[in-house]
């Protein structure tokens, strides 16, 4: 009988570069920067590592494919290094690989590192999608971008809950304004500027109904985690963070091709979070989760995710947003580090960056952003589009 991974693995060291338009740094620089912080934080040396998972999504257009860019940059001594890619959940997938490897008993200490250098692709926004779809899908998929893919979620959400575009956009603007406030105080964040709801509403339209400030930053950055067997974690540090669950769920095609899905939520997020809560032993997420970093690639994604995670009732996330439920001083602070919105979104690094914030919060090292006495932290990572995606939901705690 499978028994899952709860409390079998601990995080003992993490590193995260400053995210942003890092014209000063190449991918190798970012990898080394995140790695250096992580091993120093764990108090280990390179020779202590037994296996490595490297996450990069589009960085293959920059440093190339395979895991060799990492093994060469870090001069890993002929270690087993695996490259993973799963859209925007790539960073979480790298960590999941390392965590499951330790949980399996195959290794004691593993490294997960995610890196992305989007600003060397030449695009504002993500690189042209049609090249990455495969030779058949590029013939039949629409001429779409990430913001447009998620804008269609907002169109449905507004329609179903009877929100006029102005009413809907105002709720979304409050979601973004909250993240800007949090990100402004974070020295490693990409976009460190507070913006008002009014400014957000006046921003240029990117993909109707989403405007510029409904979209996250497109950034360079890297983040890393060192994980080990839970029973040896305190040999390294007094305050390790324990993995309660790491789940992923992928679309079955039903959303895109069958007509049952109403387009106002992300079906795999509901399935994935239910599995994660079950493994972590969480009965009532609204009461038990202390803080979250969710995949706010777009404001609408964050709003819908509140509901998909079972935190807000269906169609009512807007009420929680208005009540400040997800603000830094609210019941469940969400995006305390600024989120993808302001910390930025170097794809391969993002899942690990979310975990970095949870890790620092549990250790009481989040400075002005410190959340009092957290119990469970949740990260949520999403790749693809609402109609065709993969979701990663991870729960950590003490």
């Amino acid at each position: 009988m499978a028994e899952g991974i709860k409390d079998k693995v601990a995080i003992i060291g993490m590193g995260c570069t400053r995210f942003g338009e890092r014209w000063d740094a190449g991918s190798e620089d970012l990898m080394v920067e995140a790695f250096k912080e992580a091993i120093e934080d764990a108090g280990i040396e390179k020779k202590d590592l037994q296996a490595v998972w490297f996450g990069s999504c589009m960085d293959e257009v920059n440093v190339g494919k395979s895991a060799t860019p990492l093994s060469l940059a870090l001069k890993l001594p002929y270690l087993p290094v695996t490259r993973v890619e799963n859209f925007c959940a790539t960073g979480s997938e790298a960590l999941r690989g390392a965590v499951y490897a330790v949980a399996s008993g195959a290794y004691d200490i593993c490294l997960a590192l995610g890196s992305e250098k989007l600003k060397d692709t030449g695009y504002a926004g993500l690189p042209e999608f049609s090249h990455n779809l495969g030779t058949k899908n590029r013939l039949i998929f629409p001429n779409m971008t990430a913001p447009g893919g998620f804008a269609m979620l907002a169109t449905r959400y507004f329609d179903k809950y009877g929100l006029s575009p102005d009413e809907g956009k105002e709720i979304l603007a409050m979601v973004s304004a909250k993240s800007h406030k949090n990100g402004a105080g974070n020295p490693k964040a990409h976009l460190r500027k507070e913006v008002t709801v009014e400014q957000i509403l006046k921003a240029p339209m990117v993909a109707w109904p989403l405007g510029l400030f409904d979209c996250c930053g497109v950034s360079d950055g890297a983040a890393a985690a060192i994980v080990c067997r839970a029973d040896m974690a305190k040999n390294f540090r007094p305050d390790p963070v324990y993995v309660k669950s790491m789940q992923i769920a992928l679309s079955s095609g039903e959303e895109m091709m069958y007509t049952d899905w109403d387009g106002t939520y992300v079906k795999s997020a509901v399935k994935c979070s239910a599995r994660a809560y079950d493994e972590a032993g969480i009965k009532n997420p609204r009461e038990e989760i202390s803080m979250m970093e969710v995949h706010d690639c777009f404001s609408i994604t964050e709003l819908v995710t509140y509901e998909d995670l079972g935190i807000s009732p269906r169609g009512k996330a807007g009420n929680d947003v208005r009540d400040g439920f997800f603000n830094l001083d609210g019941k469940i602070p969400c995006q305390p580090d600024g989120g993808l919105k302001c910390f930025g979104h170097p794809i391969g690094a993002s899942g690990l960056r979310m975990m970095y914030e949870m890790y620092k919060q549990f250790q009481g090292k989040a400075g002005e952003r410190q959340i009092e006495d957290p119990r469970f932290g949740l990260t949520h990572n999403m790749g693809g589009f609402p109609a065709m995606n993969l979701i990663s939901v991870n729960i950590v705690g003490l």
């Binding site: 058949k136 629409p142 913001p147 447009g148 993909a207 109707w208 007509t259 387009g263």
Partner: protein
């Protein structure tokens, strides 16, 4: 009995007021002014896509497996090699054991294709033949052609049964009359002096062919209910009627002021227009002009009432229009202006023709799967049923979505994606009878789009890869156009 079994037409939705063209370019050549408006193919349309649209209209409620030949008449095929008729036949989901041909090089090709189809049916080698004629001729900026040329298409299905207009005879004259020409590889027509065209060609060949037709059929010109011929010059259009001794009721009102002169499609579009109003017993002569002339006579039968109003036809498409308010937009659509595309527009993903070959029916024909275990239609083609509680493996039958109506499930207007006409609008279509997929949406303004908007599918150019000279085709959703009835 051989003749026309069904008819259809297509006129692109965009219409431009000729005053707008003149306002922009009249300074160059003040004599170019023409009244009225003309139809302008959208940036994602060409002769092939318009021919498909007319073909679909013509095949409304008709079994497509019965089509044995597809002839494509055009002088503006997007490919010099890669047959347009084959693309059209695949898009129409015709059988593969059929005959196809492109008939081209002169605006007369429309009637010549019609005659080839009639002859094939009469010979008994083909039971049903489809003729699609379409043109999208481009005039240089500031030229008279830019004002005159309009874009459009017509389609006729010829056969032996259920004939709505019986073939009654034909007469052709062929001359190497070089009134205009376009060399291989050239973008624009060149032409000789207008007086020469009018006096030595236009006013002579149409008359010669029409008189020859009357003689060949053993009837008087006065027996002809209508005589259709293209209007290249308003004054000389009437002069031809005077020479032939036609009464006002025998003349058609040309679409020049609403659509423009549509080349190969022109006589067939006017024939469709005439058939829409025709009564049994009418004798309709249609004359195609260009390097000589073809004159063809049809006699309308009682069957005409049975198919009337099933098509959108000329009348339906004339009313479905959007005003093109910018001359520059038209010029950019036709590559008369080199516009900034940005990295997303320049960087076109390569086309794998081997992938297209494997999936040609699915991509060009919009044929998906129908699960015979649970009855769920699905697109694209699946081997494992998408219905969650079914999941049957390999129990699929082909299922065509191209002629299914649907509604817009959700949508967006994207300013980040490259589009020659931003924002790029796309969304999900839920099909009547089941099935959902995401498609580009075209011929619509973002402000008009609504959740639940009725849509239908239109064969369009999805991309142009200039580096490899590839026109890539797929289906887009468009707001549903109502039929005449």
């Amino acid at each position: 009995m051989s003749g026309i079994v069904s008819y259809g037409a297509y006129i692109p939705k965009y219409r431009i007021d000729r005053k707008l063209i003149y306002k922009s370019m009249g300074w160059l050549n003040p004599a170019t002014f023409m009244p009225g408006e003309k139809a302008v193919a959208n940036y994602d349309e060409d002769s092939v896509t318009m021919a498909v649209a007319a073909g679909i209209d013509c095949l409304t409620e008709i079994d497509r497996t019965g089509v044995d030949a597809v002839f494509f008449a055009t002088a503006t095929s997007p490919y010099a090699e890669r047959q347009g008729a084959e693309i059209i036949a695949t898009a129409l989901d015709c059988r593969s054991d059929i005959r196809t041909a492109d008939i081209t090089d002169t605006p007369k090709a429309g009637t010549t294709a019609l005659l080839s189809a009639v002859d094939a049916v009469k010979a008994g080698s083909i039971k049903k033949a489809m003729v699609c004629a379409a043109d999208m001729r481009v005039g240089k900026a500031g030229s008279a052609q830019e004002e005159i040329f309009g874009d459009g298409a017509a389609a006729l299905l010829l056969g032996e049964n259920d004939v709505v207009a019986e073939y009654a005879g034909a007469f052709s004259v062929s001359y190497d009359f070089v009134d205009h020409w376009r060399s291989a590889g050239d973008q624009f027509d060149q032409q000789w002096e207008d007086r020469f065209i009018r006096d030595a060609g236009y006013t002579r060949f149409i008359v010669e062919a029409t008189e020859g037709l009357a003689k060949a059929c053993g009837i008087q010109k006065t027996d002809m209910t209508q005589v259709i011929y293209p209007c290249l010059y308003a004054g000389d259009f009437k002069k031809i009627a005077r020479t032939l001794g036609l009464s006002a009721s025998q003349m058609i009102t040309p679409l020049l002021g609403q659509v423009g002169y549509t080349g190969t499609a022109d006589p067939l579009m006017h024939l469709v227009m005439a058939l829409e109003e025709a009564t049994p017993g009418d004798k309709i002569a249609v004359v195609g002009y260009g390097a000589g002339a073809d004159a063809v006579l049809f006699e309308v039968t009682e069957e005409i009432e049975k198919i009337r109003g099933k098509q959108k036809g000329i009348t339906g498409h004339l009313t479905a229009k959007r005003e093109l308010k910018s001359y520059e937009k038209m010029a950019a659509f036709r590559n008369l202006l080199h516009t900034e595309k940005g990295i997303r527009g320049e960087n076109v993903a390569f086309t794998a023709f081997s992938t297209l070959w494997k999936n040609r029916r699915e991509v060009l024909g919009l044929v998906g799967s129908f699960c015979e275990a649970c009855g769920t239609p699905q697109y694209p083609v699946q081997r494992v049923c998408v219905k969650p509680d079914c999941g049957a493996i390999d129990e699929m039958a082909p299922y065509r979505f191209s002629d299914r109506k649907g509604s817009l499930f959700t949508y967006t207007g994207d300013n980040l994606a490259f589009s020659p006409d931003p924002p790029a609008i796309y969304g999900f279509v839920d099909f009547e009878g089941g099935g959902r997929f995401w498609f580009d949406v075209t011929d619509v303004d973002l402000e008009e789009a609504k959740v639940g908007m009725p849509v239908e599918m239109s064969f369009r150019k999805k991309y142009v890869d200039e580096k490899f000279g590839i026109h890539g085709y797929f289906w887009k959703a468009v707001p549903a156009i109502r039929r005449i009835s």
